[in-house]
Symmetry: C2
Subunit: 477 residues, 2 copies
């Protein structure tokens, strides 16, 4: 059967169009600063430009690339722009993009060790590397009783941690008979919204998520946690899960792990540490203090897809006791049985996650670590932290503005002293300018602007220009 | 700051190495038939070849590609080999790979409409296209009260469906207060294992999943379902969710949707239809009968990453009533608030899935549909079905073998008449030869071999050679 007959691209056509896409991406990064960072399209505008019916016959690849340029590009918010300071970054890099390309080209499924041993073993290996790179507790290594796995996101990692905690607390009875309304989970008012989502998904119920108050630095108050756990126990409830955060979403607050961990150990409650954003900082010895107390945690995650130059999705999730996680999530139908699994000598990552299938995500992570080396990665983390601290010092030196929270790492929470409306108006003007993109949050009762430095290509000039725009727009009213 | 100083690849280096990866992939497909389909490495062999410590300093990209060739390649099971007949396919194609590359290069996050409007709108648009392409009920279109979304897998789609069903049945009380042990879900003995996993995750408990018996074609018996629902209601339980399958994993059995759907409507139970494997067949009018009765379903999914040439991950999940799904999964913290969301005029897909973040997966699906056109896709589906039917006829003509289940589409379940051990031994020999890869299941009490035709590049000669190997190996004892 000829390739022409089959409608498939030949390898040579793939080569030609592959080069064209690579060229397009290289050019995209060269001109990325020329686009408004936040897309300006109106709701429905992109759809209106697309044909209402799918094509009956195939189209030339050139037509698709042309439409990407003309129809899709205006509808993008440019997360890879060095002027992107919104949310947290989802920073990509060239070696990560090429790792994703290779993974797509190979098209292997890593659900079982047997379905592509290299997909599983490279993942285990690189996640063990990262334990050393971040100086995480050894118990998270696969060589002991624990181990790491790549999840799509910290949301999914937290859900897996909660499920394992739920089963540990009930001796796997919940898996068999369902929740009974007595399980309780704990997080602070600053914990990521994914914990509330996980508590709902896992059948605990939102009302059984206790929101623990925070201190003036927006970090969880351990004594309030201890008090609440004691109260719940007295009421006959079953505390099963605490989420502590290393770098909260709103303000990068650092929950006190040693105190929280001690409480969890005493009470026999699973401690999950969510370091989605800030974990990467521990590449640098001077920032490793953020993980003090982590040896008391049962599980941990951080996102190379946020701050370690590995394109989404890549969350690294670790457990100290992999048996509990596997027992929680494993289902073994006949059609997945195989000798390697039955030998017990291999990891089947399908039992470490919600979905069954999984692609070869370790490749991009491996490429990033090898391309930059540990020192190359540290260089960028330090640079981002320095730039954030410089920005914070400029805020402090301008008496129209004030810092709204401590700046431990790369996120600056600040506000114009003119009040909530003034800050929202300032943000909207800045974002509408197209020159940069930042977002807001609420700390205490007040609206606060967030300026996060973490995009791969952000340099000092971008941060300086952003501050100068903020200053001049603040003058305009 | 110079690129050299920053350790980043320059755009020109990206271009050079990008070409190199494209070339490597093109060559991989040219020589893919020369590799043993099922990897021959031993547990631990890949890890043993990797350095125990990560590199302190960056390495040249050439070193990574060399290691992919020498260390990784032997550890792959080649899902894209035309001699892959195992499990279900996870078939990729050139336009899908290039779409994934483009998505990685753009690196946008589609969690909110505002964070890249084109990412959301292209997805909605292409999923509406697919409703027409597969002649699915119009209620699944976004232009009415329903809509579609890309999930990573049918496992995640089923979990989302179950969660929405749980909340509909309890008026959102479960989200608030947790499961109470009274909710019941239903599936057949042939339903995919992900349903049992979902029932555990969602806090219903495995004991509250009723396994409904199947008929001689391995399809769910509607009268048994009706009986079980009535019995559970009499016991004061709350039936909330039925999963019917269009193409079961073991044997491609088709559950009778009209009868099951009628029962679900009468009883007010959510009907989810899992067509992960076979849904794609409905591209061809002659196969659309598989969806008869689908108008009675509340949700539906099928996987372009199985049989529609779109590399993993790409499951298309539809609901008839998007409000229930969104109300089930939505959590709105301040830091995600934005004007577009508040206008109500846009879709925020984070509320349609478990994780928060999401990448631009619609690109690859759009590329596949446009590259092949509807007719090009149909051509391949028909060819795969014809090849499977040819294989089935050869099995029937050889009196050492027998068919073990009907062959509605592209999966042939067959067995050597020599018994379970003979079949397992035959499978192991075939797989160890490296010439092809197939897997087994259990139907009734018997071990059965599964031969699934669905890999992108499988041609008649591959199927013929596989049968000839099966025949000659069966002669050897």
């Amino acid at each position: 059967m000829s390739a022409e007959r089959s409608f498939h691209m030949t390898p040579d056509e793939f080569r030609r169009y592959g080069y064209a896409v690579v060229d397009w991406i290289a050019d995209y990064y060269k001109r990325i600063e020329s686009f408004p960072v936040l897309s300006r399209v109106e709701p429905g505008q992109i759809r209106a430009a697309l044909p209402p019916q799918p094509p009956t016959y195939g189209e030339p690849f050139e037509a698709m690339l042309k439409d990407v340029e003309e129809l899709i590009l205006p509808g993008l918010t440019h997360w890879q722009s060095p002027n992107f300071f919104a949310f947290f970054p989802a920073n990509a890099s060239a070696p990560a993009i090429l790792g994703e390309l290779l993974s797509a080209g190979l098209g292997v499924q890593g659900m079982l060790w047997a379905t592509s041993p290299a997909c599983t073993e490279l993942e285990t290996h690189v996640l063990d590397w990262l334990v050393d790179m971040l100086a995480l507790p050894d118990k998270f290594k696969s060589t002991g009783s624990g181990g790491g796995v790549i999840q799509d996101s910290a949301s999914s990692a937290s859900l897996c941690a909660l499920l394992a905690a739920r089963e540990r607390a009930t001796g796997y009875r919940t898996n068999a008979h369902g929740c009974d309304g007595r399980l309780v989970a704990y997080a602070s008012s600053q914990t990521h919204s994914s914990i509330e989502k996980a508590v709902k998904i896992a059948g605990l119920g939102r009302e059984n998520l206790r929101i623990i108050e925070v201190d003036e630095k927006y970090a969880m108050r351990p004594e309030a946690l201890a008090r609440q756990i004691a109260e719940d126990k007295r009421a006959g409830l079953v505390p099963c899960f605490v989420c502590a955060t290393v770098g909260t979403t709103s303000s990068n607050a650092l929950d006190p792990l040693p105190e929280i961990g001690q409480i969890c150990q005493q009470e026999g409650v699973w401690l999950h540490v969510d370091a989605a954003m800030c974990g990467t900082a521990a590449l640098c010895p001077e920032f490793r203090y953020i993980h003090n107390g982590l040896e008391l945690a049962d599980s941990y995650c951080f996102n190379p897809h946020k701050w370690m130059f590995t394109n989404f999705d890549c969350d690294c999730f670790y457990v100290a006791d992999r048996a509990t996680l596997i027992n929680t999530l494993s289902v073994l139908p006949e059609y997945l049985r195989n000798k390697a699994t039955e030998s017990g000598a291999v990891i089947d990552y399908r039992d470490w996650q919600i979905p069954l299938g999984r692609r070869f995500r370790a490749l991009k992570l491996w490429f990033v670590i090898r391309h930059y080396g540990v020192e190359g990665l540290r260089y960028h983390i330090r640079r981002h932290v320095e730039l954030a601290h410089a920005f914070a010092s400029w805020v402090e030196a301008d008496d129209r503005f004030e810092l709204a929270a401590p700046v431990p790492l790369n996120l600056v929470c600040f506000r114009h002293k003119g009040g909530d409306e003034a800050n929202l108006k300032l943000m909207e003007r800045l974002n509408r300018s197209g020159e940069l993109y930042l977002t807001h949050t609420r700390l205490g009762e007040r609206i606060v602007l967030r300026f996060c430095v973490g995009q791969t290509n952000t340099e000092r000039r971008h941060v300086e220009r952003a501050w100068s725009m903020i200053q001049s727009m603040a003058d305009e009213w």
